[in-house]
Symmetry: none
Subunit: 194 residues, 4 copies
DNA sequence: GATGAATGAGCTTTCATTCAT
DNA sequence: AATGAATGAAAGCTCATTCAT
């Protein structure tokens, strides 16, 4: 039983990688199964459909990022420092596990029809959004961040990071992603701080 | 000959709309041709492939937005005011011609393989980026904007706007898109201003 | 346009033959297309699904038999003679166009799930049943047939003929099908006559 | 060993039910095994293939009906009464154990390819047919029934009953099946009697 | 005997593209 | 220019059967 759960996670991780590289529609079930050394028929013993696989993938990513941001939220740092921590987490993930961010940007955000049954609204990225919300609201409560509409702040933060990772993926950035952390964090703080 | 050029534009506009609504892989050539009242065979008299059609579409969008931003750049307004004008243009386009922004976010940014032969790097959105670059560099030259890495600024500006339109498209924003213009412009100015 | 209608009929006739020979689930779309010298992709330019093809087939058969029975109904013969004519039509069809009766017995009657959307109840065999009903009611009106429940009579008539054709198909009958016409008609008349 | 025989019968009974409900090709081995609370692998310890299972099912049904008809044959009743008894047995089975008759009509009669190796001709329904034959020949010997070709009589009897149960299954009969027993028996007797 | 993961062939259906008309 | 029938490769998914445990 435990084994089956482990295998499911292995499959999600493998599928995630392929989806992120080639997109949802260009990744075929035989591709995914093959990359895991299994037959495509067998894959259906673990997941009922390709869509379900993609939905599990986005849940996995949301959880992965949420765990790391939760640590930041639980620290005693200032909002300015927390911004930098979150930017770092995001960029390090983009560097070390690029499929995570790429899946998010290129599969989840773009192929909404794949997620419309089972991941309506933002239910499958809820964990992640919740942590960003906690970060923001604590900053406001501590009078370190301006009290503005959450989505206005959220759009800036996440749109910005997503945009940078996209430029990075397109090899449009002249320097390594990490070298932008300081400037970007400063820009975000200027926008959101009191 | 002139006629043929007009018909090509009509086709691009029609294809653009369908691609934006249903995504690249879910839009079929018969779909596109049908929505234009023509046969799929005939469509191939104007474009050699589905990819070419998508590439023309992104060029069209880039040009469409560039023209409007050029007007802003040519005005005598302050950078603070220009930011607001650009945000307004972007949001008004998202409201009145949603396919333009949606194609950009959901087709161009996500199905990179479609654009890898013919739109490498950013050549197909060059016109648009150039105008943003002009806006930024003039602001720096006038000492209204801080002199920072262009991509750091660009990522913030465009990532932010894209993020907001995405949230809007997902019906996650409680208010109309335009009502955020003021706050968002302020956030951008705080981040980029001197 | 007319051509397309003709081609559709050709396809129905071809599919009908295969379905009758091998059953619905053992007849594959490539089989059907191949037997008609066309590609399976092209078949979908004429019919939207395998089910639709089967439904058109039963409508075709129902119409084919109804036309022939209508001629009997329009004749001035006695009910006793009409019974014999109908039995003859049924058996001659079974001999000359065996796929018609076989499809009816082995596909339509047995794979009800295939017909549940679009041929609910008996709507796709309505034409045929209507003619049998006319035969019966006129016989009753003329006081040649006993006035009994229609289904009691219909079940006998059609169950009997179907049963004989089944035995014939299984090569269980020692003699040719036609040589039973006289005896069977007599049995039916004994059962239904006044 | 005796246990194994019992388990085999249980499996046949369970498979029979599923086959009758969903058809042969729509019933999967995991379905059948699952409905019996066993694994599909284990089912293969009892039967070598899906086909074998279906063949055992029809043998079981043939035997089930034969036993009941044998009782009728062994009674001292007239042919007219025996007809009514057989009709009643058939209809009561259709009501109380519908899978028996449904399997016969919808699986055995229709998917001949499944039975072509192992149940050629009528060998798997031999027991049942033999009893009907005994009924008929005794009736002829007693001069209660006309001396006609056995198949002519058999086709009427069984085709009729099968047709009525089919109409019943399609919910086309306005009344309960049993209420037709009297009329149908009368029709059969008129057809077959001296 | 019992399990269920694994296989792999085969299914229906889709669709970009071609080409005779 | 215009049509749409035709192709054929490939997709997602199913399932009887096997076999290591």
């Amino acid at each position: 039983m435990e084994e089956k759960r482990d295998r499911k996670i292995q499959i999600v991780v493998g599928a995630l990688k392929l989806f992120a590289e080639k997109g949802y529609y260009r990744s075929t079930i035989p591709d995914i199964a093959g990359s895991l050394g299994m037959s495509s028929g067998n894959l259906y013993n673990y997941f009922h459909s390709k869509e379900e696989l993609a939905q599990e993938a986005i849940r996995y990513i949301s959880s992965y990022l949420a765990i790391r941001i939760r640590e930041v939220n639980e620290s005693k740092k200032s909002s300015r420092e927390k911004i930098e921590d979150i930017v770092r987490i995001y960029f390090e993930t983009a560097r070390d596990e690029p499929q995570m961010i790429d899946f998010f940007l290129r599969v989840y955000l773009s192929n909404r029809e794949v997620f419309s049954d089972g991941c309506e609204g933002m239910v499958c990225v809820n964990e992640f959004i919740t942590e960003i919300m906690i970060f923001f609201e604590e900053g406001v409560a501590n009078e370190e961040l301006r009290n503005q509409d959450f989505f206005t702040a959220f759009g800036l933060f996440m749109g910005y990071l997503g945009g940078m990772v996209f430029l990075y993926g397109e090899r449009m950035l002249p320097k390594a992603l990490e070298s932008y952390i300081e400037d970007i964090s400063e820009n975000i703080y200027r926008a959101l701080g009191v």
